[in-house]
Symmetry: C2
């Protein structure tokens, strides 16, 4: 099997498709990275057309990168880790996609993040970014927690921390709670001081918007703000609870990834901190491991 | 000034316009109720056309009730208490409305609720329903708290309690928290047991949907559920904080209204409970007081 420009053996494409962006990597049979691509959301909850357009756009970038033609897409063995396909309905919809690849192996973005973090080996991963969730994959047994969405879930995430921030600032504005540094930092950042202007700003805020202001909570806590410290304590307690649940499977490794991970680690329980190991590879590489492990040689 | 059917003096129309419905009452100059009407949302945040259509529809019902012609609308002195007009932008938009009435006096739905509860006298009111908010009106000084919206505000409300319920049930489903009676009651009520089915149900839930399940929290607490009791304790603490803030103005009366009010009162602090007095009239009557107090004799 040889493509237009003569790579030997099958080509593997790894897809990390999240709610805001889709990242792909293209490798040869002997694991050389020859292309990559980046596009918009690849979460089927946003609609199948948006998701498949994002995937195809990023794939074409990767093919071009590798000096391949668009028609070589039918040579690709694809591992796709997509947000949302943990829901059976979306797994089914995506499985029915008449994709243009040689083969496609489908799982969740969280699962490929775990496989990548441990380079194809067993382990557990917690994502603490805009949302929060965790997965352990040990001897074929999988535990998955969280990732249910906002505001009823995703506790300890950036969106959750931003929501607590706005909540406390509005309490302070109503004189129902103390005005602390959190109020100053948020009003300064938004260049807004009136309660109604703040309400107007957050009235239709997405989780991404809330998460954008989570770093202010860390900034305030570092300057001794007690309410900020309490928000972080609660966030860390939730991440600890996820970690302890995943550690019940005895994974050989546990990695914390996502935009808040590094900031949160110092606040986690000692027993959790001592188990945290660096993620070895990015989720899109995990997607390639996933495809390789399933594709007939 | 005499209308088609010969009522003496001006006719007053009181409007209580909320986010889900608009209720109006029509009275004669000597306070006899001669008509009423009920229609959909009259909150300008849903769009001016929706709001004014609701107001006019309910007004025409009230005119018909009173044996008056639609053209008699230009005889009405109107007090309008509308959700959303506490925001200056919406107050301005509504003030610019080329209304068909003889005169219109505009304020918030919360304000007319307070005036109605105390039959035109000074006092304070707390609404604990889908949302939560409070207002005190004492010697011309007004304090207004809460009512900022969901999920960052409206703590202690039905929507907030429903959100805590869903949050705790999902934690239990993930084995991150105890499965209590709350889990049984919610799953039974929804006839759903799978985590993903619950998530799917609440994914785009409105505050009204969350509030619908708040009574389950009271039901569980009455049967000794500790998590339910803690949710109610936090809700009551928030309502207490609103009450104490309003009582700082020394209002002669304090009323609690809204769908959760009666259920919450037993959980409030003794010092707050002892101050709670029944609301004397409904908000639409408060709107008539508001117009009467401002309309030149």
């Amino acid at each position: 099997m040889t493509t237009a420009v003569g790579y030997e053996g099958p080509l593997f494409l790894g897809i990390d498709g999240g709610g805001s962006k889709c990242r792909v990597i293209l490798t040869t049979a002997d694991n050389q990275v020859v292309g990559e691509g980046l596009s918009g959301p690849a979460n089927p909850l946003r609609g199948m057309k948006v998701a498949t357009d994002s995937i195809l756009s990023a794939t074409h970038q990767a093919l071009t990168c590798a000096g391949l033609a668009h028609r070589d897409i039918d040579q690709l063995v694809v591992g796709a880790g997509l947000a949302g396909v943990n829901m059976p309905e979306y797994f089914r919809i995506f499985s029915d996609w008449q994709h243009p690849f040689k083969a496609m192996y489908l799982t969740s973005d969280l699962h490929v993040a775990c496989i990548g973090a441990h380079q194809g080996g067993d382990g557990a991963v917690i994502i603490a970014g805009t949302g929060s969730c965790g997965l352990a994959d040990v001897k074929g047994e999988i535990i998955e927690v969280g990732g249910h969405g906002f505001p009823y879930g995703d506790n300890g995430s950036g969106a959750w921390m931003g929501l607590q921030l706005v909540h406390h600032v509005l309490l302070a504005k109503d004189l129902l709670g103390p005005a602390t540094l959190l109020t100053d930092l948020l009003c300064e950042e938004l260049k807004l001081t009136e309660t109604l202007a703040l309400v107007d700003f957050f009235m239709h805020a997405t989780p991404t918007t809330y998460a954008k202001y989570a770093p202010l909570v860390f900034a305030a806590a570092e300057q001794g703000d007690l309410i900020a410290a309490e928000i972080i304590r609660q966030a860390a307690a939730h991440i600890d609870a996820i970690a302890l649940r995943l550690l019940s499977l005895n994974p050989p490794r546990l990695s914390l990834i996502g935009g808040l991970a590094q900031k949160l680690v110092p606040y986690l329980a000692t027993e959790v901190q001592s188990r945290v190991t660096p993620a070895l590879q990015a989720p899109e590489f995990g997607a390639i491991w996933f495809a390789r492990q399933r594709h007939p040689a």
